[in-house]
Symmetry: D2
């Protein structure tokens, strides 16, 4: 890419960037993608098939499902319940649920920064059942054993999120981990309008440019689903994009050097994060507890 | 300006922009500015003297004092107490305090959006005394009568901030109003590193592009001091700046059209807002209550 | 009463106390009461008819409707929607709504104290429409003009709640005011299990024993509905009750003298306050916006 | 005890209760206690020496230091700094600090219930250093390696606090654990006016009557200091006390049966919890980081 590195956590964008930068004749071998419409929502599935694909997209081998939730944000009729259904279906599928799996849901991110609060906000909507199942297992048929953890932030805990999640996973021995986090996009149009589900796990805070330990099957020993919502574009990424569109060749790469680390977010970030977090929370409940409906969740919360 | 309108709430930046855009020989009549160092902090005072100056800078006639608090953020020795002292001095001066004035402090902005939370955050550090003075006036010599109001946000109150502040001002009849708010800058380097004090008041939410009723001497009938901290650059302003630096002539003005309203903030916005809000809160306490020190404020909070 | 003053904000309890203390043959003239079942909830209406009744119950002349929501707390089938319907009906009736009245909803109480947070918590569920109606009045047929105000607390504002509410009422000129607050009961069994609606208004913080200005038709000039939930029993009231039940005659009245002001609350006060606040918020929405259902409210929040 | 079981988490109260219930001639063998004044604060040390003492007081063998902080609450001159110093000295002593011990501080309790929020509130004042020491160990001489954990509550995590603390202790392998929690007292006069430090650890939520796994040297394998502040009296305990004082013999033990679990707290619980939490946070910082002063901590927070 001629203007340096754009930063994105979305496989669907990484694929677009690769295609824009490559010559027309290049094949994007090692990566497959297909699009569909589900209940009125656009769904794009990107599969990184092998190491060649991994190298090209800089994304681990695995499946990435992106669901466009713009219809939800326009508050179309029944949009919320339909979006919950679509997400719940993909969550069950990517986690390969078929029995009585025990689930640990982790909310990553910093609740003091609105754009980083998707994880902790979504936890507010989670129906936690582990303690109930342990006390009266037979009273809750159809409910999976679900526990939840806020990872907090390094500056106030002194622990990396991955350290805490590893510690708890070793102790509780769940069958699956779900990690919720805010992501970085390279397109302002996708901010808070997309949910990415992937079975490749996540590097906590990767959206904020720190290299940290991953949460994935390799590090935790069990399947890890990452659920992410892009809430920021890095200012440096925006600058590259703008310069490219402007046809300029002489953008000074040190332009952001003095200003430190800047991010671009929607002005109404609070209501957008609220909407996305609620959607994710409800979808996880419906995915994990058989026969539960959106109305049931309303009743409990 | 060749690339449309940059948005800034800082008089010191409006002056810079005017000078950049004007021919060398143009005089910026109607505006005076001077710089100084106070206790190690850079202080710039811009005076808009008349209608010509007002028109050029798009800022009302009056005085704008900008204090650079970068030294504070680097946690230099005694920086906090020194910054409190510098601010408190200018607050007293701009409000023309000399007796037993009663003060209403208003925290504008949305506490759910980190970058907009300067006002409500600063209120957490305010020593409110009105109720104590009313009950036992003679027990608190040297303390002014201070009350505080969170204006809330339109979407959750249904009221413009100015409506609420007018209502309370008419009821309480204070002698001075201080309005605290987050501002928009056109420079990323100034974000959370500058405090602007002005006797011209403020248009609440002007930083977010809505045209709303002003809080100033004309609308409230008493002197109004606005204390603001720039926390965001509008993405459109950033784009203009970038295009200009890149020497590009063909930046598409509709570039941000689809993306809605975007803002640029520092990634560590939470700790920066905390630091600035604490500084402002302490400075107001020290300005209004004679002989009070930073240590005294620590004791009460 | 032989053991001093029990404290209650509930008319239904004041009536019980009077009857217990009075001789069998005394008539409680000036007060009428009747009980009914509505949608499975027990409803008691107490009418204080004249000054004799007012003096006996120490409650202003007017109507007091008490709804027992225990069934809701047991999470019975459809209980939430049924309770919302019952409350909404009484809210409309007590406020004498028949046209396009503009409503100001005030959340009294201290959000930092769980037991006092009913008011501010309930506001979180309110659909505010005043700003929308003002901008596009004809776009919202069937929706009344609703605004909302958190009164804050004296220690952080320096203003009595009544001062603030008066100021805003004078400015906005609504047709009705609804005041939400936590109440004191004299029975632990009623804590968070009862909602009292009354057209007599409220003295903010009366539940906490301070004599403050009232919010009622007399002070505000318009009908005022108070919606309250008992969340505390004063420790002194509990002591009186216990002593009476124990048949003791020698309870030391100074027993609580040294300990300062103590209150009794349920241990799970957080979830009980949450449940009651949500119920009240939904009921107000359904009462004020014609044809709105519980599901509609879920969609907007 | 003639009126059933009073509940207290304070060793100093358990000793008083034993002495009141015992005949004059009984010796309280196995328990020693002595009182002193330190910097104007009353300090009582109770030592449970052996199994006889343990059985009598229902408190594990070990040392319990109780510091009366009433002087602090009256905001006496320098009271805060003096109280920090007294606590810090006992913290260092009970934890047997002499080198470069790594410390994990755990905030137990429910931040949504004001009276249970001492733990999470105190964490807000903790200077966490583990991540800094790991990155640049030699840059922070005199600072110990401190990490912090909020245990959350069972209903929202599905995990017992002890499970989470054990998991993290096994992973991080600190040398010491400090557990912060709200306690139950049997005296209203002690609420929020006392801090208990003990080297015997704690049973999380023991203050709320649930039998849960302990956090102590036996379960965690390292020294555990519990720092607790009494914030509630159980209503049942209050009833027993009242009945005893009233000389009544016929208090119905089922009196509280229907009402569920009730607690007594001060009405101004929010400011009392804030004051105690701040004191504890500062004292831990001063105890763990050599040469740090109260003013230094102010600078960092």
């Amino acid at each position: 890419m001629s203007y340096g590195e754009r930063r994105t956590d979305l496989a669907v964008e990484a694929r677009e960037l690769w295609r824009r930068s490559a010559a027309d004749t290049d094949a994007l071998a090692g990566v497959e993608a297909f699009e569909s419409q589900e209940e009125g929502f656009g769904v794009t599935t990107v599969q990184v098939l092998n190491e060649e694909g991994q190298k090209k997209l800089c994304k681990p081998i695995g499946e990435y499902v992106t669901i466009e939730i713009g219809a939800l944000l326009r508050r179309e009729e029944d949009a919320f319940a339909r979006a919950v259904g679509v997400l719940a279906g993909h969550i069950r599928s990517l986690l390969d649920l078929h029995g009585d799996e025990r689930i640990l849901i982790v909310g990553l991110g910093n609740s003091s920064i609105t754009a980083d609060a998707i994880g902790p906000e979504a936890l507010r909507y989670i129906l936690v059942t582990r303690h109930l199942k342990q006390q009266m297992a037979d009273k809750f048929p159809g409910f999976r054993d679900v526990s939840a953890l806020r990872s907090g932030v390094l500056g106030t805990t002194g622990m990396e999120s991955a350290e805490l999640v590893c510690a708890v996973t070793e102790k509780l021995r769940p069958d699956r981990v779900v990690a919720l986090d805010a992501l970085a996009s390279c397109s302002m149009d996708r901010l808070c309008r997309t949910v990415q589900l992937t079975d490749t796990g996540i590097v906590p805070g990767s959206g904020v440019g720190n290299h940290r330990a991953a949460l994935n099957r390799e590090t935790l020993g069990i399947p890890v689903l990452a659920v992410g919502v892009p809430t920021v574009v890095e200012a440096a990424t925006l600058a590259i994009e703008l310069a490219e569109r402007a046809g300029s060749k002489n953008l000074d790469p040190s332009l952001f050097g003095e200003s430190g680390d800047m991010i671009v977010t929607p002005r109404d970030i609070d209501s957008r994060v609220h909407d996305a977090a609620k959607l994710i929370g409800y979808a996880l409940n419906v995915a994990f507890h058989d026969k539960l409906t959106v109305d049931d969740v309303d009743l409990f919360l």
